[in-house]
């Protein structure tokens, strides 16, 4: 899929662990791992909103499009 999820980059910038983000967003670490490894088929707006809120970023900072 040409959509790339850059959550790990933002996590490194904010010096936050995956577990902490998962807890704050309210998703399981397994689901966050699916998101980080680009295995996810879709992301809910509510999840994206929470991730952006916690990492203090915009959706464009997390999601990228590569041909």
């Amino acid at each position: 899929m040409p959509i790339i999820v850059n959550v790990d980059v933002m996590l490194a910038k904010r010096k936050m662990s995956s577990l902490e983000l998962a807890e704050k967003v309210g998703i399981t670490p397994a689901n966050l791992s699916i998101l980080k490894t680009n295995k996810a088929k879709a992301i809910r707006f509510s999840t994206l909103e929470k991730i952006c809120e916690i990492l203090d970023c915009k959706p464009g900072d997390i999601l990228d499009y590569q041909k």
Partner: protein, 171 residues
């Protein structure tokens, strides 16, 4: 009544299917014995034309019997998955595909029997053969329709698996 899981309708269906499997196996063994007798008659050159016809008929029965056993085996696999609450998995879809192809093979075998009997009846004009012809054509149509139906159901099942995966991977 519980349909899926332990001590449910699925587990009872498995018992029923296993019983049918045993019955068909016994019939197949009996038919094998009859085939042996017919071959002996042919070797001894007794009433060759009728015996060859019987031989072809019983070989067709044993082939369809074996395929039926295979189909029941696949159904047992599917119902075991239902019993274990595994509903939308690739294996079930594969089993349905195998069942539908097996139905088409059985249908083809009965079509061949029908053609053979048609060729024989045109010479012999025996009433009994007309019944066998009608029976084989009827079975051919039933298995062809069953094969097509299961093929369509399999496509629906594949779509369901796709939707489930999409749902599972939506964060």
């Amino acid at each position: 009544m519980k349909i899926l899981g332990e001590k449910s309708l699925s587990s009872k269906v498995i018992v029923g299917l296993k019983t049918i499997f045993t019955i068909i196996s016994i019939i197949d063994v009996i038919v094998l014995g009859i085939i042996g007798k017919i071959v002996r008659h042919i070797v001894m050159k007794e009433n060759i034309q009728n015996n060859i016809f019987d031989l072809v008929l019983f070989i067709a029965i044993i082939i369809t019997g074996m395929i039926a056993l295979f189909i029941i085996g696949q159904f047992i696999k599917i119902f075991k998955n239902f019993k274990n609450n595994i509903l939308f998995c690739e294996n079930n879809s594969k089993s349905l595909n195998v069942i539908s192809n097996s139905c088409f093979i059985i249908s083809t075998v009965y079509l061949l029997i029908g053609i053979l009997i048609f060729l024989i009846t045109s010479n012999l004009m025996e009433e009994f053969l007309y019944y066998v012809f009608a029976f084989s054509i009827m079975l051919m149509i039933i298995f062809a329709i069953a094969g097509i139906g299961i093929k369509i159901l399999n496509e629906v099942y594949k779509k369901a698996i796709e939707y489930k995966e999409e749902n599972d991977f939506t964060i």
